[in-house]
């Protein structure tokens, strides 16, 4: 296979289907950022450690820097742009980040949000320690994590209230 080989893929991103011919070696992160122009997904290390590029693939968190776009063919991707219910409202997790000072520079934030979205779906009533373990694969240099942990715990409450 040549590096310049291309394949046509169909990926659903935030509910919109995209059919595109892509180089086989392009990462999913670069596809999302540069082919689709959804630049909310960030690249911090490009080797799978920092977690900034985390997206949800069929509802499960994945490092979009470690996946090829062709591997997402036929799958559903959720990026940070798809979290809010609409232009006038934020998701309770986003509100909790804002209200608990869960972000400073905002570069790690997309990966924190996607990771926690999956986690709170699995564990709607987590302890502080469980939240810490859940985000231990996401690096943040600004916040010391406290605002993020508090935001996640607050979001769990808000999401529970929303379901009640």
């Amino acid at each position: 296979m040549e590096m310049t080989d291309k394949r046509t893929i169909t990926v659903s991103v935030n509910g919109t289907k995209h059919t595109k011919e892509v180089p086989v070696r392009i990462t999913l992160a670069d596809f999302i950022r540069y082919e689709l122009g959804l630049t909310g997904t960030h690249l911090g290390c490009e080797h799978g450690v920092c977690g900034a590029c985390t997206i949800l693939l069929d509802g499960r968190s994945a490092r979009s820097c470690l996946m090829l776009a062709v591997q997402a063919d036929g799958h559903e991707v959720l990026t940070v742009e798809g979290i809010a219910p609409g232009p006038d409202a934020l998701h309770p997790l986003q509100e909790a980040f804002r209200d608990n000072h869960g972000l400073q520079c905002g570069f790690c934030t997309p990966g924190m949000l996607t990771t926690l979205l999956e986690f709170l779906g699995d564990n709607p009533d987590p302890t502080e320690q469980e939240v810490r373990v859940a985000i231990s694969g996401n690096l943040c240099r600004c916040t010391g994590y406290q605002g993020i942990v508090l935001a996640a715990l607050d979001a769990a409450k808000r999401m529970k209230a929303g379901r009640a």
């Binding site: 070696r25 690249l43 911090g44 290390c45 940070v80 809010a84 934020l90 570069f107 010391g144 942990v149």
Partner: protein, 775 residues
Amino acid sequence: MSSPTTTIGSRITRLEDEPLLRGRGRFFDDIALSGMWHAAFVRSPHPHALIKSIDTGAALALPGVHAVLTLDDLAKIMVSRRMTRHSNSGMPLDKCWPFALAPGEVSYVGEPVAMVLADNRYIAEDAAALVMVDYEILPFVADVRKAKDSPPIRRELASNVITTYKVAFGDVDAAFAKAAHVFKRELWQHRGAAHSIEARGLVAELRQADGGITVHASTQKAHDLQQTLTTLMDFDQDLRVAAPDIGGGFGAKLCVYSEDVAVTAAAKLLNRSIKWTEDRREYFTNAVHERDQYWHLEIAVDAEAKVLGVRGKLLHDTGAFTHQDPNIPYNSASTMSGPYIVPGLSIDVTIAMSNKTPVSSVRGAGYPQAAFAMERLLDLVAHEMKLDRAEVRRRNLIPAHKMPYKKPLKARSGAAMEYDSGDYPACQAEALTAAGWDDFPKRQAAARASGRYLGIGLAHGVKGTGRGPFESGLVRISRTGKVTVFTGASAMGQGLGTAMAQIAAAQIGVPVENVTVVAGDTSGVSLGLGGFASRQTVTAGSSVHLAALAVADKAKKVASHILEAAEHDLELAGGEVRVVGAPQLNVKLGEIARILQGAPGYGFPAGVDPGLEATSMHRMDSLSYANACHVAEVEVDTETGEVKILRYVAMQDSGVLINPMMVEGQIHGGVAHGIGNAFYEWMGYDDGAQPVTTTLADYLLPTATEVPMFTTLYKETRSPLNPLGVKGVGEAGTIPAAAALISAVEDALSPFNVRIGQVPLTPMKIVEMIRAAKI
């Protein structure tokens, strides 16, 4: 509705947050321009070598590759091949400034040798791997302690020692002669690198409309970058630097780097927009470090453990080039006495070069090393004299009644080092109470009875904040009544925009969300110094405050004519100027802005200048000294060397707080950085000067499971030096952290009588020390 009393000091949520939470931030790498080329760099694999030849043939033959440039190509449009920056310290740095690309000789692993330009980053990186460089390997310096007696790290240098100097005051030798006790300690300190989660990079945009260039760079110093590039390439007014959103800085992005110069020069040379996005490996080898410092120290105390003097030597590794004056060791030596009364001090500083990545500021810039050195000495005094560590501090802290307190030293600016305000003993007392210091021996004894090793430690830090001589602040109100603030300060995550909006809104009487802040754009305001040294709330805050006051005064003058009321009967609120007590008598700020924009040939209000705007470049010649006292409680696993932080109290006095929520966030992040420095972050090199920690799996940043919940406490001692009474925040959380944590670990390991003189202290080192002690 915001009012002066509710705007400043309130925990309002940040203006920056919603776009960032929606993925609508705009970082440099998000900028896509049609026809833009992408750069990748060919980098040196050797610590020191001659470049005998560069073969670009295979790279240029790759489809999608447009050019491969070396220094000779860039030099065609450059005034100088290297960054001829001004040495403010007077140090001989002519042969220490970096080149745009390697000058036929490389002097550290990672140094950029050639630049490939291609259709995309994939092709550019493929091509970079195809550029064949023939090197002749030369002797190198891998250990700064051998620098003095080794061949030069670059052939142009006569010596690897840049300079030696003494930082001294008082009669130190007399102090040591009369001392009841003298104790000695050797230290190795290392702080790793800044590691913002966004690495470096820039887009040099060729503007279609006028042919000028706009550089969108992830920089902490937009104006410096603009001025440096302008000088290097003889740009006139057609070079603008506009910092987009910045994904963290922490010091490393305040330097102008070779890549900044090379990318901009290539855009000018080839008439193309060019983007360069750094990868993390490049960040490891090229973004500045705060690497090794070796300290040899002695402390002299009287029979009551009062410090009489400190003396010693400090050897500082500054790497292969200097991006700016190597001020870190001066910061370290000159601020070592911190919050304490130290009658005499003498530190012999040596700054030497090595064949490693250049060294410059990382959050704290030499102050954390100073605090570590002093606090380690005081712990030694307490240990040797069998005194409580907190008691030793209490006896030596500068008491509140001695404020302002003059240290017999000068700050870098040449101004006297005078602490403006603060109450260090009270800060310590409150921090100790919150941490349960007095009860700790009971907790410790109970834990030891069950085979667990608990320890507690404390440390102080003092930070000179608000480094001048000024920061710019321009406040402008448009016909819509909306307010825009322009500043040369840099927004890199601290919430600068929200803070400046709070300060401006307080005087102008508009909701905070009606204020837009434009930071780090050279087209917005002509001068600026940028974001570093915990300076912006003090400097930019003061300028924005004064500019907003001037705008408010101007608005009142105009409204006074319209409303036929005296100025002192007017107030600004709700986006208008009103008569106090008769708010139906008002004029909107947008209307005043319209009047002050002028109508050709018609009348203009008397006694005011055109424009509802004002600029302030408030001079700041003295630093405002913030202080912190940290108490940490840890548990050490003596089998694995793991340290768990059980409790962490951070007391901080940063004067008046503009937004306590944001201040808290800065402290949390600062302490987390200190935790990294204490236990995890080590930028390693092998004996061949090859970097060995070039992924985030090898170089460990603290994650959420290593960082505890912090208790933050505040004192708000006003600074008398600025109109807002503020002091800086950003670095004070980092400065005492490693010292407090290592003190706690040493305390936990007291049954083994382990003495710790290094950071970072890895688990392996802890186990090794315990084993050595047992033998």
